[in-house]
């Protein structure tokens, strides 16, 4: 392991590494993000290694386990360089065929390629519509890098921004560049990072701290995790540059415990950066000292709030405090502390390397650069997408996401996580940036984007978010703790068919109160899902209250399953799959559901053979009987 003692050392090491690598050499990259782990990518990678070994191809082919490629819907994703042949849904059994047909015979395995709606096959990764409409800058390097190998990152120009900032720029120039680029925080609020840095730098008190917030608690959002898993060095480099500009020598990375792979890769990255002299004392021989500690979060949504997160690092319960004085002035141990989200830090090396003008050329007037979204829910192409600010929601949902599965109708898209709002179809053409989303009654948040179709109940969705927030409320301030509990009670009543006239107005009134009076952003934004669903889908609330009907067929108390006697084939699949034995055979050899025992899980509907379609869903309880 070399210790790099100057900018020249780093440059020489990069050249040496590149010289050792033949760009024409075949390289099989296997996506090893958590999504692909769930699909069994470890087995795929092992099969490749074994197969290549058994055919004695080690000298001709490299195998690399990379971070997340983003196309989680089609995991395990395998890309073969230099041709960039992209295979999807790869299973260990497919490996030997890929090795034979592609690595040896230079052909393709057609059944594993992407096929567009017309059935045309697409070979190259970049031409797949999911990728074609993206602008992968921050996330793009994931597919080239083995996150456990620092050399991969350095070979791609890694740490050159740090070297540039440290040797060619003053602290003020670095700060000015980031301010000029107008980089806004990617964690939710969109506060300009440069201004935060400046406040921390100018605040009285030593030492100053810098923190990476990787406590990604939004359900349905996982881009920070994938970034930290797939390219931890880019986050570290950003942090180092920030620390230099601010004058900090100590940092923390706060990672959720639920992200074991991100934790592991970050640990490895820190260790190897220390060995290379890129972290610790006298970084790159420049006299600049900086080190970083990992803090594992223990599962509390509110701990992602800056003051709560700092309280957790201090070893206390992760509860927020009033921020009359910003954490950038008095944060960790009451010292000036600059906290930014993973993605924000990862943007910094690009801004330093390519300049503020380049960064400003992407995006809209007040929101520059790109943003990574996790596009999930009722969507064909679930995955992580990086798009320039200002792209329309429609482009994201249809061009990149491939629309709604099973020809269902689009109903809404939820952005900003539990603090955000739901946007109906009429708003699909808004341009996605910080200000537009806020204007539309939602927010950017950390970048979760959950698509919902006609079978999603909006009241249930509002209830879901409220339940989540009521659970996660730390209980420190009354409006949030009690207000959310009351809202949840009302919503539970409505979804149970016990809603009353006036409930909607009461919800609105409570919402206003909670927004105004809560201590931290969790409470202040908590009513957003309820307010936005009332605004755009009031008729669904009314159907629940006045007709005791759930139009989407979701709310359990308001629906029932029954078997159409004329269509039943008597196959008994439904009875076998019923977890509560609620389905029994009658004398006529057909099946009926005992409504008393039924827990309405829908298993019977799922297994009923296509040709029979005898199980039906009634959107009002016992309406048939």
């Amino acid at each position: 392991m070399p210790r790099l003692n100057s900018a020249a050392d780093l440059e020489k090491f990069r050249k040496d590494t590149l010289a050792k690598r033949d760009p024409e050499k075949l390289c099989v990259t296997v996506c090893s993000g958590t999504g692909c782990h769930a699909y069994g990518c470890i087995g795929v990678a092992e099969s490749f290694i074994n197969e290549i070994k058994s055919r004695n191809l080690q000298a001709k082919v490299d195998v690399r386990k990379t971070g997340c490629h983003g196309f989680c819907e089609r995991g395990t994703v395998v890309i073969i360089f230099p041709e960039e042949i992209c295979y999807l849904h790869v299973k260990p059994d497919d490996v030997s065929e890929i090795v034979q047909k592609t690595l040896i015979e230079k052909g393709t395995v057609d059944r594993l390629l992407y096929h567009d709606t017309d059935g045309k096959k697409i070979v190259r990764e970049g031409e797949i519509p999911f990728y074609k409409h993206q602008n992968r800058i921050i996330f793009g390097n994931n597919r080239f890098i083995d996150p456990k190998n620092i050399d991969d990152y350095i070979a791609l120009g890694g740490y050159s921004a740090l070297s540039k900032a440290r040797f060619e720029m003053t602290q003020e120039q670095v700060l000015a560049e980031v301010k000029e680029a107008n980089l806004r925080g990617r964690g939710g609020g969109g506060f300009p990072a440069g201004r935060k840095w400046e406040t921390t730098r100018d605040a009285a008190g030593e030492p100053k701290y810098v923190i990476v917030n990787a406590d990604e608690g939004d359900p349905g959002a996982y881009m920070d995790r994938s970034l930290l898993e797939g390219n931890p060095h880019s986050v570290l480099e950003g942090l180092l540059i920030g620390a230099y500009a601010i004058g900090s020598h100590e940092g923390y990375i706060y990672v959720r415990e639920e992200y074991p792979l991100a934790l592991e890769n970050t640990k490895v990255a820190i260790e190897s950066a220390r060995q290379y002299g890129l972290l610790g004392e006298n970084i790159l021989g420049s006299g600049f000292d900086f080190d970083v500690t990992i803090h594992r979060g223990a599962g509390a949504f509110v701990s992602g709030e800056s003051s709560a997160l700092m309280s957790a690092i201090e070893g206390h319960v992760g509860e927020p405090r009033p921020k009359y004085i910003h954490t950038s002035v008095k944060g960790l141990w009451d010292k000036p502390t600059c906290l930014n989200n993973v993605e924000t830090w990862a943007n910094v090396p690009f801004i330093i390397n390519k300049g503020a003008d380049w960064f400003k050329s992407i995006g809209t007037e007040n929101s520059k650069g790109t943003k990574i979204f996790s596009l999930v829910g009722k969507i064909n192409n679930t995955g992580l997408v990086e798009v320039p600010m200002g792209i329309t929601l429609r482009d994201i949902v249809y061009d990149i996401g491939g629309g709604i599965p099973n020809d269902k109708k689009f109903k809404a898209v939820q952005t900003g996580g539990p603090s955000g709002g739901l946007l109906p179809e009429s708003m699909l053409d808004i341009h996605v940036d910080f200000d537009e989303l806020t204007r539309a009654g939602s927010m950017m948040g950390s970048g979760g984007m959950i698509v919902m179709d006609e079978n999603t109940c909006m009241v249930d969705t509002a209830r879901y978010y409220t339940e989540f927030l009521a659970q996660e409320s730390c209980g420190k301030c009354v409006p949030c703790r009690e207000g959310l509990r009351q809202m949840l009670r009302i919503l539970n009543n409505i979804t149970n068919g016990e809603g009353k006239e006036g409930d909607i107005e009461l919800l609105e009134e409570l919402s206003e109160f909670i927004q105004e009076a809560s201590l931290c952003a969790l409470g202040q934004t908590a009513p957003n899902p309820v307010l936005s669903t009332i605004k755009h889908f009031r008729h669904e609330y009314e159907a629940h209250i006045t007709e005791t009907r759930c139009p989407a067929g979701v709310c359990k108390a308001l629906i029932s399953y029954y078997i159409e006697a004329d269509d039943c084939l008597g196959c008994g699949l439904c009875a076998k799959n019923c977890p509560t034995d609620a389905i029994s055979e009658t004398e006529d050899k057909i099946y009926v559901i005992d409504q008393e025992k039924c827990i309405k899980c829908g298993s019977c509907l799922k297994v009923c053979p296509e040709k029979a379609k005898a199980v039906a869903l009634q959107d009002a309880l016992y309406a048939r009987y």
Binding site: G318, Y464, F468
Partner: protein, 385 residues
């Protein structure tokens, strides 16, 4: 250091007078009662009948805990308290008072008393209060105190051993004693002390048949906790990290382990329990050998996670957050596992299942039952497939 001036500098003639507790009260019956109760519990107690005598005894016998009556002839209880706290702030003082008014209690707490007993008090109350007081002394502060206050009589302390290590060693000895079949009556005083310490860490020790093994198991657990705490260099701010590691090690947070963390880090129990009950990743209940997680993140929710939870619940017969009576399964809902493409997703011991059917769930449950021995080390296999 007025206490020192007041009390004639004590000479070393009374080495035998080392005591754990000094009781200062003008009522003979109270003094005697306390002494007998405390000695029966294995504490060494000495008594004094007025303030002056009491302060002398404190200086001579280096107690950890001093019980002081508020109303006494001569020097008042308040003055005695003030003198003691100035003499050696690490001594824990407990006030005995005949009139338990709030005002006087607050007043005494202000000058450093850590507890108070209202006369008449039950022997159990006394023992509990004294025992709590004995725990307060801690390694870090012990060192500090010996530096600051030059004591006329040096406490004979084995250099590398701090109190906690002595306790661990002692508990081991106690466990071996039990194993050899010794009866409690034959115990030396020291062993009695140890037994009360052991009881403190395992409240059901009295009812256990295999006491020897039980104590040894406890010591083994505490040593495992110790090695975790050591990794974090006894820093208080690493509490959450330590608890996460303890949880990883034991699969939950057993009470004696939390007590030990509290002793080692010198963090009050209530703070430890505040943290332990706040975070979802920490469990104060034993968990099953197999962990079943169902993701209820938004993406999974809109794809039907709620009905998956219902199905799994009804098959296993437990609600989310519960463990079955045989401690085979723990069912949990988690907010997002970040594999939204598979939603609704269920994870069993690190194995992912995308929207499993009723039959599949039944099969998985059955295979878990068969291989329940394997459950031991599931904690670290979240991702290893």
């Amino acid at each position: 250091m007025c206490a020192k001036k007041q009390i004639s500098s004590a000479s070393g003639f009374q080495d035998s007078m080392m005591a754990d507790v000094v009781v200062i009260d003008d009522e003979e019956s109270i003094c005697e009662g306390c002494r007998q109760t405390l000695e029966a519990e294995g504490f060494r107690a000495v008594i004094a009948h007025d303030g002056t005598e009491g302060l002398k005894l404190v200086e001579q016998s280096h107690p950890k805990v001093v019980l002081v009556d508020l109303k006494m002839p001569g020097i008042s209880g308040m003055e005695v308290l003030a003198n003691i706290s100035e003499y050696d702030p690490s001594i824990v003082t407990i006030v005995i008072t005949g009139y338990g008014s709030i005002d006087s209690a607050v007043e005494t707490m202000k000058i450093g008393a850590s507890d108070f007993l209202t006369k008449p008090f039950a022997p159990e109350k006394l023992i509990e209060s004294v025992r709590r007081g004995m725990e307060v002394t801690r390694p870090a502060e012990e060192a500090e105190v010996t530096e600051q206050v030059v004591r006329p009589l040096e406490v004979p302390e084995k250099a590398p051993l701090n109190k906690q290590n002595v306790v661990l060693k002692g508990l081991e000895v106690l466990g071996q004693y039990y194993s050899l079949g010794f009866k409690e009556r034959q115990f030396f005083d020291e062993l009695r002390c140890l037994e009360s310490e052991a009881k403190h860490h395992a409240d059901r020790l009295g009812q256990m048949k295999e006491k020897g093994q039980a104590v040894l198991d406890i010591v083994r657990d505490l040593r495992r906790v110790d090695s975790i705490i050591q990794k974090y260099a006894y820093k208080k701010n690493t509490l959450i990290q330590i608890l996460l590691d303890v949880q990883m090690e034991f699969n939950w947070l057993p009470r004696h382990c939390l007590e030990w963390v509290s002793t080692r880090l010198n963090i009050p129990h209530t703070n430890i329990y505040t943290v332990a009950s706040f975070y979802e990743a920490l469990s104060l209940e034993p968990r099953g050998a197999h962990l079943i997680q169902i993701c209820t993140g938004t993406a999974c929710h809109v794809r039907g996670a709620a009905s998956l939870v219902d199905r799994v619940s009804s098959i296993l017969g437990i609600e989310p957050g519960q463990t079955d009576s045989e401690q085979l399964f723990t069912l949990e809902t988690v907010h997002c596992l970040g594999c939204c493409a598979l939603g609704p997703v269920m994870v069993v011991d690190g194995e992912y299942y995308s929207n499993p059917s009723t039959k599949q769930i039944q099969e998985i449950a059955a295979s878990c039952k068969v291989s329940s021995e394997k459950g031991e080390n599931y904690a670290q296999v979240e991702l290893s497939r």
